[in-house]
Symmetry: C2
Subunit: 183 residues, 2 copies
DNA sequence: CTAAGGTTTCAGTAATTTCTGAAAGTTTAG
DNA sequence: CTAAACTTTCAGAAATTACTGAAACCTTAG
């Protein structure tokens, strides 16, 4: 399975970006390869195409499955497993968001909540808790909103985009369209 | 400068989370310490509080300044420099978002644009380019949106939050009430 | 049951990232 | 100008993270 230079470029790039996106180089490469290659790929084909060890490939595939970004695809007469993307680009992007939220935000929110419950030890701690509370509320807003966007789905997101002046305009619309309701 | 156990917990946690947020452990700790400590801190105080070398501290402060998360604060009679947060929590969070966008999204968008310009090499490449285009558009939507959010400021974000699932509803209403307008 | 075809695990190694501390650099008081 | 007070740089050490490949482990055909 030789990759076209187009695919090679994309795969290499997604490898480089991988660590910034929460997984390592080979995992990024494997993902790009599977997404861009329309036919299902076997582990061996992937290892060959990327010149990485079979073991590393196995670990990468496992991780991508734990992120729910790829899924196994069983081909009838074949003994080995093949892999395909777990959904549309939109779905994949959402999964990455979701997973990163779990890793990057949730633990912090949880700790902040705990620290806010602690009995403060002196004046200063009260000020510190106020700060922590502020951080907590901000994180909460951002995650809630991003989930809202995810629920909208790609088409509505697009409508929203084309609305022009942006989110501020929605707030105006809201006042016009739902004047009586407080929410 | 001895940290209260509350501050210590928070600082340690932000250190652990640091690498997930795009900077390393000590940078995360330094940031947390500066944000939570209301008085300006000198580099030496930071190094002592965190038990890290003066050199490492210097590098960390430099990085935080390049992210525009902290700024220098000159105390009149003093020779040394002190450091304070570069703004409110909201401002800091925006800066982190912004910086991560630059590192995580922009390079990919740029590559995708380039690859879409390339002359495809055969049937398959055409399909691949279609995929790449899809990814590009998605990233574009997401970045446009996150920028909208940043422009909103925290209060409006809050209003929006309370709207919750109502956003989808407004879009529907909008279609009914403003069918003629294209934006 | 056994062997073949395939996958996973994991100890050890390689690569990368982070940290230290000594040396070089900068600024200002006198 | 010089010295003191402070900061930055950077080569090498330490810590962490990623990768290999051989051995152990499935699973199924016969």
């Amino acid at each position: 399975m030789n990759m076209s230079s187009l695919v090679t470029s994309a795969v290499m790039h997604f490898g480089e970006m991988g660590n910034r996106w929460g997984f390592n180089r080979t995992v990024g490469q494997i993902l790009a390869l599977i997404v861009l290659h329309e036919e299902p790929l076997s582990a061996q084909e992937i290892a060959d195409a990327l010149s990485i060890s079979r073991g590393n490939t196995s670990m990468g595939l496992k991780e991508l499955q734990s992120w729910q970004l790829i899924k196994q695809h069983h081909v009838p007469g074949e003994r080995k497993e093949f892999f395909v993307p777990a959904g549309t680009i939109w779905v994949l992007a959402n999964r990455v968001f979701e997973e990163r939220r779990k890793r990057e935000i949730d633990p912090t929110m949880s700790l902040l909540r705990d620290l806010m419950m602690d009995t403060p030890n002196g004046e200063k701690d009260i000020a510190v808790q106020a700060r922590l509370n502020e951080i907590h509320d901000l994180l909460e807003s951002v995650t809630a909103w991003s989930q809202e966007l995810q629920n909208l789905g790609p088409e509505k997101l697009d409508t929203l985009m084309k609305l022009g002046a942006g989110v501020g305009r929605i707030l105006e619309l809201k006042d016009k369209l739902l004047p009586a309701k407080s929410n």
